[in-house]
C-alpha cells in the first residue's frame, strides 16, 4: 500500500473556504444586479462588468508586481468590484469606474497587506473618493426606465434622499422605494432585491444578523417618532439597505464578537441619521460605515470574549496586558487616563477664559465707516459708483433676508442672505437703473465642487443686465427670464436667484433711481 498521510489533528474541515464564502456573496448580489438592469438598462451590466474586471485585474497585477501569493482566486476582488458598481450611478463614465476599482483594490486593500488587513471597507472608501473627486458625475442620477426612451431628453432626477433634504421633486411612495423604482446608484435602489440577497446570506451563515438588525433597527427607532411612513421612506432610500446588509458586514472591517457587531451597527445607524439630517451631504451611509470602521479595533478590545473559568481580577489584569492586534503598546485602563485629561481640560478652559477676558478688555471698537476693502468690492459690482454710504436695509421678502444696503451715485448694492443647500448663502447684488450690474458670493457653505460652483463667474455673469423676475432652468433656458442652473447644483443656483430677485424687488421698492 502507499505511504500513509500523517498530519496533525483536526483531520476534518467544514468545507467552507474563503472562495466559497465570496461565491455566496456574489450569488446574493444577483437579485440586486437584476434589479439594476431592470431599472437602469443594460449599461448597468456594463458598469458592473467593468468595475469587476478591473478590480480583478488590479489585484492580479499588484500581487504579481510585488511578488506575493496570488489571491484573485479567493474571489474577494470580484465581490469588491460588484459592490463598487452598486455604489455608482448608471451614467458614470467608465474610466471613473476603473479609477474607483483602483482605489478600492490597490489603495485601500493591497497597500495595507491584502485581504484581512484593510482598515476600512474598500468599496465604501472608493465611493467616497469618487464622490469627492467627481461630484458632478457621481450625482448624475437618471430616472428609472429612462433607457427605454433614449430619444427623450435626458432629465436628471433627484434621489429620494435629495428630495428629503429639500431638493425639488416628488418623493416616491415607500412601496416604490422598497421595490427600487426611484433614482439612485445601481444596486442601492431596490431594498427588496437586497433583502432577498441578505436572506440568502443569513441562510448560508455567511453573515450573522447582528449588524444589519442593529443598523436598520437604530435607524428605524430614530425615525419612528416622525411617523411610520417617514420611517419607511428613510429605511428604503439611498444606500442604507446595501450598506447595512453588504457593506457594514464586511468581515475584515467589522467587529468579531456578537456584542461588538451590535455596537457597530448602532453606531452606524446613529451616524447615518445624524449625517442625513444635519450634514451637508444627503447620504450618510458611506461616511458612517467608514467612521465606524476606524473604531473597530477598539470595539474588539472592549467586547473581547471572556476565557472560560477566568476570574474577574485576572481578566482586569489581562485587559491591561492585552495589546491591540499587531501593536505592542498596552491600552491603559480608563481610570489612569481620566485624571490627566480632566486636569488638561481645566487648564484649557482657564486659559481660554483668560484670553477671552483679555480680548474683551483690549478690543478696540471698529470704526463704523466703510473700509477701503469694502468700498473696492462695492465698486466692482457697480463700476460707476462713488460716494458710497450705508443705508437702512429695506424690508425683506419671505425667503431671503436683506442684511445691508449701500447706496452710491450710480446704484445700490444689497447684501442678501438666503438659505441654500448646505446652509446660508451670502451675496452682494449690485443694481443700477439698467438692472443687475454684478453679483458676487461672499459666503457659502455648499459642497465644494458642486454647490460652491454657484459662486463662479461663469454662472453669476448670467445675471448681468437682468431687470424683471428671474427664473431658473435646469439644462437649457426656455424662457426669456431663465438663467441656467449649475449642473448638479440646482438648489444652490435657485438660492442665488432667489437672492437676486429679492434685491431687485427691494430696489424697485426704493424707487430704483440710484438715489
Amino acid at each position: 500500500m502507499e505511504a500513509l498521510i500523517v498530519s496533525q489533528s483536526p483531520h476534518r474541515h467544514s468545507g467552507v473556504t474563503t472562495p466559497v464564502i465570496m461565491r455566496d456573496v456574489l450569488i446574493a448580489l444577483i437579485p440586486a444586479l437584476i434589479a439594476s438592469v431592470v431599472f437602469f438598462g443594460p449599461r448597468a451590466l456594463l458598469v458592473t462588468a467593468v468595475t469587476t474586471a478591473s478590480a480583478i485585474f488590479f489585484e492580479y497585477a499588484y500581487r504579481r508586481l510585488m511578488h506575493r501569493q496570488q489571491t484573485v482566486g479567493d474571489l474577494s476582488a470580484a465581490v469588491t468590484g460588484v459592490l463598487l458598481a452598486f455604489n455608482l450611478p448608471v451614467s458614470i463614465p467608465l474610466w471613473i469606474a476603473v479609477i474607483g476599482s483602483f482605489v478600492a483594490i490597490v489603495v485601500v486593500k493591497q497597500l495595507f497587506g491584502g485581504i484581512g488587513k484593510n482598515f476600512a471597507n474598500p468599496a465604501i472608501t472608493a465611493r467616497i473618493v469618487l464622490m469627492v473627486s467627481f461630484a458632478v458625475h457621481m450625482t448624475n442620477w437618471t430616472e428609472p426606465f429612462a433607457y427605454l426612451h433614449p430619444q427623450a431628453e435626458a432629465v436628471a432626477s433627484a434621489t429620494p434622499l435629495a428630495v428629503l433634504a429639500g431638493s425639488e421633486g416628488t418623493l416616491p411612495s415607500p412601496l416604490m422605494l422598497f421595490l427600487g423604482n426611484c433614482g439612485g446608484c445601481l444596486g442601492e435602489t431596490s431594498a427588496l432585491a437586497l433583502l432577498l440577497g441578505g436572506a440568502y446570506l443569513l441562510y448560508k451563515r455567511v453573515i450573522r444578523p447582528h449588524i444589519p438588525l442593529a443598523y436598520l433597527g437604530t435607524v428605524a427607532l430614530l425615525t419612528l417618532p416622525f411617523g411610520v411612513e417617514r420611517m419607511a421612506t428613510y429605511l428604503f432610500s439611498g444606500g442604507l439597505a446595501i450598506g447595512a446588509i453588504f457593506m457594514a458586514t464586511d468581515y475584515t472591517t467589522s467587529p468579531i464578537t456578537g456584542k461588538g457587531k451590535i455596537i457597530f451597527g448602532i453606531g452606524c445607524g446613529l451616524l447615518t441619521v445624524l449625517i442625513r439630517q444635519f450634514g451637508s451631504y444627503p447620504e450618510g451611509v458611506s461616511f458612517s460605515i467608514l467612521l465606524m470602521n476606524l473604531l473597530v479595533p477598539y470595539i474588539d478590545i472592549w467586547t473581547a470574549p471572556r476565557p472560560f473559568g477566568l476570574t474577574r481580577d485576572k481578566k482586569k489584569k489581562e485587559k491591561t496586558k492585552t495589546a491591540v492586534e499587531g501593536d505592542q503598546t498596552p491600552i491603559r485602563p480608563l481610570r489612569d487616563v481620566l485624571r490627566p485629561t480632566a486636569v488638561l481640560c481645566v487648564v484649557v478652559v482657564l486659559i481660554a477664559g483668560a484670553l477671552l477676558a483679555t480680548y474683551r478688555v483690549t478690543r478696540v471698537e471698529e470704526e463704523t465707516g466703510l473700509t477701503e476693502a469694502l468700498i473696492s468690492e462695492l465698486t466692482e459690482l457697480v463700476p460707476q459708483g462713488a460716494d458710497w454710504e450705508e443705508l437702512q436695509p429695506p424690508a425683506s421678502p419671505e425667503n431671503a433676508t436683506i442684511t445691508r444696503c449701500f447706496g452710491s451715485s450710480a446704484g445700490h448694492v444689497y447684501e442678501v442672505v438666503t438659505k441654500s443647500y448646505g446652509g446660508d448663502l451670502t451675496l452682494l447684488v449690485g443694481i443700477t437703473p439698467e438692472g443687475v450690474s454684478g453679483v458676487s458670493v461672499t459666503e457659502t457653505s455648499d459642497t465644494p465642487g458642486l454647490g460652491s460652483k454657484a459662486a463662479d463667474e461663469g454662472f453669476l455673469s448670467q445675471f448681468a443686465g437682468r431687470k424683471g423676475e428671474i427664473t431658473v432652468a435646469k439644462n437649457k433656458a426656455t424662457r426669456d427670464s431663465d438663467i441656467v442652473a449649475v449642473a448638479g447644483a440646482t438648489i444652490s443656483s435657485r438660492a442665488v436667484t432667489t437672492a437676486v430677485n429679492a434685491a431687485l424687488a427691494a430696489d424697485s421698492e426704493l424707487g430704483g433711481d440710484g438715489e
Binding site: M1, E2, L4, I5, V6, S7, Q8, S9, P10, H11, R12, H13, S14, V16, T17, T18, V20, I21, Q69, T71, D74, S76, G114, I115, G116, K117, Y251, T252, P255, I256, T257, A304, P305, R306, P307, F308, G309, L310, T311, K314, E318, K321, T322, A323, E325, G326
Partner: protein
C-alpha cells in the same frame, strides 16, 4: 459563554457519521502476536516485569512501576514472551514494549475479586486494574479518584457524550452494558461518598438515553442529562458546566469544584472489574471510515497491530490515512504495525483524507474561530502571537486554556492551522517555564 443544561455551546456542528451505532460489539479473531507497550497512560512509564521466554497468562501483570502516577500493564493473551523492544506509538511517543507470541489457548490468570472496605482500598484496586481514562486521554483512573481532598468531592459526572464523528463505542456500552454502568456509578459514589451523579449524553443517542434513564431510575441521585449534539460537548470543562452548572476555574482541576468526571466505558469496566477482578486487557473500538469494508464495533485485545484489525474489517490496502481516535482529535497513524493500546477508542481508515486539498491563505478576520472556541479564546490572535513568539501575549490570551478540540481549524475559511499552532504555543510556554 455556554448556557446551562441543553442550550447551545460555542463549538461547531459536525457531521455525525454514526454509521456503526447499531453494530453490536463483536470480538476479532485472536492475533498471532501482541505488542504491549509499557506506556499506555499519562504519567511515568512502566518497566517490564517479564523476560524473553517467560510464559504469561491472560490478565497477568507484565509491567509496573513504584510510582503512583502510572497504570500497570497486563497481557491480553496467553503465550510466550518473544521479545522486549522499543516502539513508537501513535502520537509520536517512544515506549518500551513486550512482544508476546499467542498460543491460542487464552488461559486466564487466576483473578481475585478485590475486597474493598475503605476508600484507600478502592484506589489500590483501581490502580491494580490498570484502568486509564477510556475516552482517549489515558489519565490513570486511580489518580483522579485519589484526589487529596476527598471531602470536597460531591458529584460524579459520567461522560457519555461521544461528540466525535464516527465513534459509537461508548454508545454501545450504554446499550450493551447499561447495568454495568449503573453498578459502576453506585460503586464510585459509595466509595467516594458522592451525593449526585449526572450522565451527560448527546441528544443524537435517544435509545441510550432511554435505556440509561430506565436503569438509573433505581437511584434518584443519578440524573441523565441529554445535551445538544454539538462538538465538543464531551470536553471535560464543557460537560461539567453543561451538566452541573459549575465553572472549573482556569488552572484548577474539576475536583477543586467538587466534581469527579469519568468516561462511561471506564465506569462500566470498573463495575466488571470489581465483580471479576479481570484487569484492562481488551478495548471495544469503533472501526469505520471510507476505506473500511465492514465497519462496526469490535473487541480487540490490547497489543493487536492496527493492520490486523483493519485487515479483518477489510479495506486496509485502500487506506491512505489511518486515524487512532476521532477525526477531530485523533492521531494519524504513521506505521500500521503499531499496536492498539488501552487509550484507543476508534480506528478510522480513509481512502482519501477529508481535508486533503486545503492550503492556508490569508486570515480574513471573519471571527468564526472565536465564535467556535468553547473556551472563549481568540485563536486568530493566538496565531498572531505565536507567529511572533510573543509569550507574554500568549499568556495574556490564556492559550493554556485551549483543550485542543480543533474547532477553530475546522471552521477557518482560510484553512489556517490554528489548533495546531496552539499546541506549539503551549509547548513554547512550557519550555519557557510557563
Amino acid at each position: 459563554m455556554s448556557l446551562l443544561n441543553g442550550k447551545r455551546i460555542n463549538g461547531v456542528t459536525v457531521r455525525h457519521d454514526k454509521n456503526t451505532k447499531n453494530a453490536v460489539t463483536t470480538p476479532i479473531p485472536l492475533p498471532q502476536r501482541v505488542t504491549i507497550p509499557m506506556q499506555q497512560h499519562m504519567g511515568v512509564p512502566c518497566k517490564p516485569l517479564v523476560e524473553v521466554g517467560d510464559r504469561v497468562l491472560v490478565g497477568q501483570k507484565i509491567g509496573d512501576t513504584e510510582h503512583l502516577f502510572a497504570a500497570p500493564v497486563h497481557s491480553s493473551v496467553s503465550g510466550e514472551v518473544e521479545a522486549l523492544t522499543e516502539i513508537v506509538l501513535p502520537g509520536g511517543k517512544r515506549s518500551q514494549a513486550v512482544v508476546i507470541h499467542a498460543d491460542g489457548k487464552q488461559e486466564e490468570f487466576p483473578h481475585k475479586t478485590p475486597t474493598i472496605t475503605t476508600a484507600q482500598d478502592f484506589f489500590t484496586a483501581v490502580r491494580r486494574s490498570g484502568l486509564v481514562g477510556l475516552g482517549g486521554a489515558g489519565f490513570p483512573a486511580h489518580m483522579k479518584l485519589a484526589y487529596k481532598d476527598v471531602e470536597r468531592l460531591d458529584t460524579l459526572v459520567v461522560n457519555a457524550a461521544e461528540c466525535e464523528p464516527y465513534i459509537t463505542s461508548d454508545y454501545r456500552t450504554c446499550i450493551e452494558s447499561a447495568e454495568d454502568v449503573f453498578d459502576g456509578i453506585e460503586a464510585v459514589m459509595h466509595f467516594l461518598g458522592l451525593t449526585h451523579c449526572f450522565i451527560g449524553i448527546e441528544k443524537n443517542k435517544p435509545e441510550a438515553i432511554e435505556k440509561l434513564g430506565k436503569i438509573c431510575k433505581a437511584d434518584s441521585r443519578i440524573r441523565v442529562v441529554p445535551l445538544p449534539a454539538r462538538y465538543p460537548q464531551g470536553a471535560e470543562k464543557v460537560l461539567i458546566y453543561q451538566t452541573t452548572g459549575r465553572t472549573v476555574r482556569a488552572g484548577s482541576l474539576p475536583a477543586d469544584s467538587g466534581v469527579m468526571m469519568q468516561n462511561v466505558s471506564s465506569i462500566a469496566f470498573l463495575a466488571d472489574y470489581l465483580r471479576r477482578g479481570r484487569p484492562l486487557i481488551e478495548r471495544f473500538i469503533t472501526v469505520d471510515g471510507t476505506a473500511v469494508e465492514r465497519p462496526g464495533n469490535y473487541s480487540v485485545p490490547v497489543g493487536t497491530s492496527i493492520r490486523e484489525v483493519l485487515e479483518y474489517c477489510g479495506g486496509f490496502e485502500k487506506a491512505t490515512q489511518i486515524l487512532s481516535g476521532g477525526p477531530m482529535m485523533g492521531s494519524a497513524v504513521a506505521d500500521p504495525e503499531m499496536p492498539v493500546t488501552k487509550t484507543c477508542n476508534a480506528l478510522l481508515a480513509f481512502t482519501e483524507p477529508e481535508d486533503f486539498a486545503l492550503s492556508a491563505t490569508d486570515c480574513i478576520r471573519c471571527g468564526r474561530c472565536t465564535a467556535a472556541c468553547p473556551m472563549g479564546l481568540r485563536p486568530g490572535m493566538l496565531e498572531d502571537a505565536y507567529d511572533k513568539r510573543d509569550t507574554a501575549q500568549l499568556r495574556a490570551l490564556s492559550v493554556t486554556l485551549c483543550v485542543g478540540c480543533g474547532s477553530c481549524s475546522y471552521v477557518c475559511p482560510a484553512g489556517r492551522p490554528l489548533s495546531q499552532k496552539n499546541v506549539l504555543a503551549k509547548d513554547l510556554l512550557r519550555k519557557e517555564g510557563n
